[in-house]
């Protein structure tokens, strides 16, 4: 019984997939930085950045709209910015019926800019995780000076997520098998249900603790003494440097556009 968290990685034979993970990570971060740094209302720049994202998706053999569609998940958080069109001072462009709330032009521009920035940034993240296996991203992070111990911890976590999620799902299924939908006075109280959930969490914790002890013993048996050692996996080729250069050029265009204004 496998609980597949649907790993974000999509194996493909593509130029992007073949790139050094360091290049992909750095380009993704630069893209996000460029996007987030764009001032409000730079519609052409946003448009260009979107085209770049579509091009990357296409070049990765994922289909140009792969990330574009999936970026919806970031949207719920947009509610935090919802007050802005109503509260930002400026000429009113629209008045909401019934309640009479006014939407200002600058407020609308700001709100849409935030929306677009988020949408674009999420697309970059999606493309990174779709074209690069997580262990490779972690390796790239360690090379870029993120502490090796932390990277190892994340690596272990990634390995055991699926096993522990399996155990959690089994617990949830066992619980639903034992608790038919009761209504009325016989329905268990909120507090009781919460405590039950808490005990499931506690029991999962114990199992995880015990498993970590066994994993540690297995590591000891193979010579582990606290050091974190990784084999060098990737070498930057000409294609990698070229890709980095190209990305730099592509990202410079919207920045240039903005500076010209």
């Amino acid at each position: 019984m496998h609980f597949d968290l649907t790993d974000a990685y999509r194996p493909r034979k593509s130029a992007i997939h073949r790139l050094d993970p360091r290049v992909k990570l750095v380009v993704a971060l630069l893209y996000i930085l460029t996007t987030v740094a764009m001032p409000d209302g730079e519609w052409e720049a946003f448009g260009l950045l979107q085209i770049v994202a579509l091009a990357f998706a296409w070049r990765s053999n994922l289909g140009p709209f792969y990330a574009f569609r999936r970026a919806f998940i970031a949207l719920p958080f947009i509610l935090a910015a919802l007050p802005i069109p109503f509260l930002m001072p400026g000429p009113t462009v629209w008045t909401m019926p019934v309640v009479g709330w006014g939407v200002s032009a600058p407020g609308l521009v700001r709100f849409l800019s935030i929306l677009l920035r988020t949408w674009l940034a999420v697309q970059a993240g999606i493309l990174l995780s779709a074209t690069t296996r997580l262990p490779e991203i972690l390796w790239a992070l360690s090379v870029l000076r993120v502490p090796a111990t932390l990277v190892s911890i994340i690596g272990f976590m990634y390995r055991y997520i699926f096993i522990l999620a399996d155990e959690a799902v089994r617990m949830l299924r066992a619980r639903s098998a034992r608790s038919p939908k009761a209504t009325g006075p016989s329905r268990p109280s909120l507090l009781w249900q919460g405590r039950m959930a808490g005990m499931m969490v506690g029991s999962l914790f114990l199992r995880s603790l015990e498993r970590s002890e066994r994993v540690y013993e297995a590591m000891l048996s193979r010579g582990y003494a606290g050091q974190v050692r990784m084999l060098q996996a990737f070498h930057m080729g000409r294609g990698d440097w070229l890709a980095l250069l190209m990305a730099g050029v592509l990202l410079a265009v919207p920045v240039g556009l903005m500076l010209i204004r």
Partner: protein, 320 residues
């Protein structure tokens, strides 16, 4: 796609680049300290132990209990991790969880990850631990007092994370403090109850089955750090309230309060559940909210303290 149970993962695009980078700098500094502390505390076990426990937190966030009409309560986990492992280990564990959620599932942005780590990793772990430890010292020993303290610590952890998030959004000009703070604080006051219940349930189980784990958590390094963090955060809160930040910002927090009498009505909808959320006497909305939050915190602590004291007295009576 995996979505976490609480709405605290800030995506990219909501924090200005400057704010993001500051967050990363602080987060990295704290991570480095945490790595050193856990190496002292756990030795060579640290990598497999924290790695598997991070996977546990991730999986545990999926364990829910139904509240009402399709919504359910979930665990964030920072407080629980801190109670059983100490705040520094908890910081690393939550960092791993947040990194995974951001990298793999875009639950939280990459540039914003610095602040996400601080909000959901550092602040929750330390606030949760400080709440737990200080309440236990107040109430006294005994399993019931421990549960009460765990409840309070867990609730506090969620509140601190939420309030910090609101301030970060305000500083970036993405969400006006007058709206973000009450909304975040209000919603998370409820979510915090769920966190408290689940955390208490877990700690209760561990007390019975593996008490030495709980004891180890209480002796973990970080007590002083937790006290400092909570003190520091409270100070920051006070400063922020009194400073011009609360009503104006570099970028766009210049919101006109009397704009068609809108502000009051904008704040009302989320608070039908908490009718007396704002104290009638105080004028400034932000100050009101902060006072209400502090008051709420004090009430929760007082309740937990009373519960714990009552239990301790009953236990003493039984023994004598």
């Amino acid at each position: 796609m995996h979505l976490s149970g609480t709405p605290l993962h800030i995506p990219d695009g909501f924090l200005s680049p400057v704010v993001s980078i500051i967050g990363w700098a602080i987060a990295l500094a704290i991570i480095v300290i945490a790595l050193r502390q856990t190496r002292l505390q756990l030795g060579e076990r640290q990598v497999p132990l924290m790695g598997v426990l991070a996977a546990f937190i991730f999986a545990a966030q999926a364990i829910n209990f139904p509240i009402a009409a399709g919504t359910s309560g979930h665990l964030l986990g920072g407080a629980l991790a801190a109670i059983v492992m100490g705040p520094w280990a908890a910081t690393l564990i939550m960092t791993a969880v947040i990194a995974m959620q951001g990298l793999l599932f875009q639950d939280g942005g990459l540039l914003a990850m610095g602040w996400n780590i601080l909000n959901m990793g550092v602040f929750t772990a330390f606030a949760g631990y400080a709440g737990y430890a200080s309440l236990r010292r107040l109430i006294g020993e005994g399993p019931r007092s421990r549960l009460a303290a765990a409840f309070a610590g867990a609730w506090l952890s969620v509140m601190v994370g939420a309030i910090a998030t609101a301030f970060e959004l305000a500083l970036s000009g993405t969400s006006p403090l007058r709206a973000a703070l009450p909304a975040m604080a209000g919603v998370h006051a409820l979510i915090g109850l769920g966190e408290g219940i689940i955390t208490t349930g877990a700690v209760g189980l561990l007390e019975v089955t593996r008490p030495e784990v709980i004891r180890a958590g209480e002796e973990a390094p970080g007590r002083l750090g937790a006290a400092f963090t909570l003190g520091g955060l409270s100070l920051a809160l006070v400063v922020a309230v009194l400073s011009p930040l609360a009503s104006a910002s570099p970028d766009g927090l210049e919101f006109v309060a009397e704009r068609q009498g809108f502000l009051r009505s904008a704040l009302e909808p989320p608070f039908k559940l908490l009718p007396d959320y704002t104290l009638p006497l105080v004028r400034n909305e932000v100050l009101t909210t902060i006072l209400a939050v502090l008051l709420g915190t004090l009430v929760v602590f007082a309740l937990a303290w009373l519960m714990g004291r009552g239990a301790v007295r009953r236990e003493h009576a039984r023994e004598s």
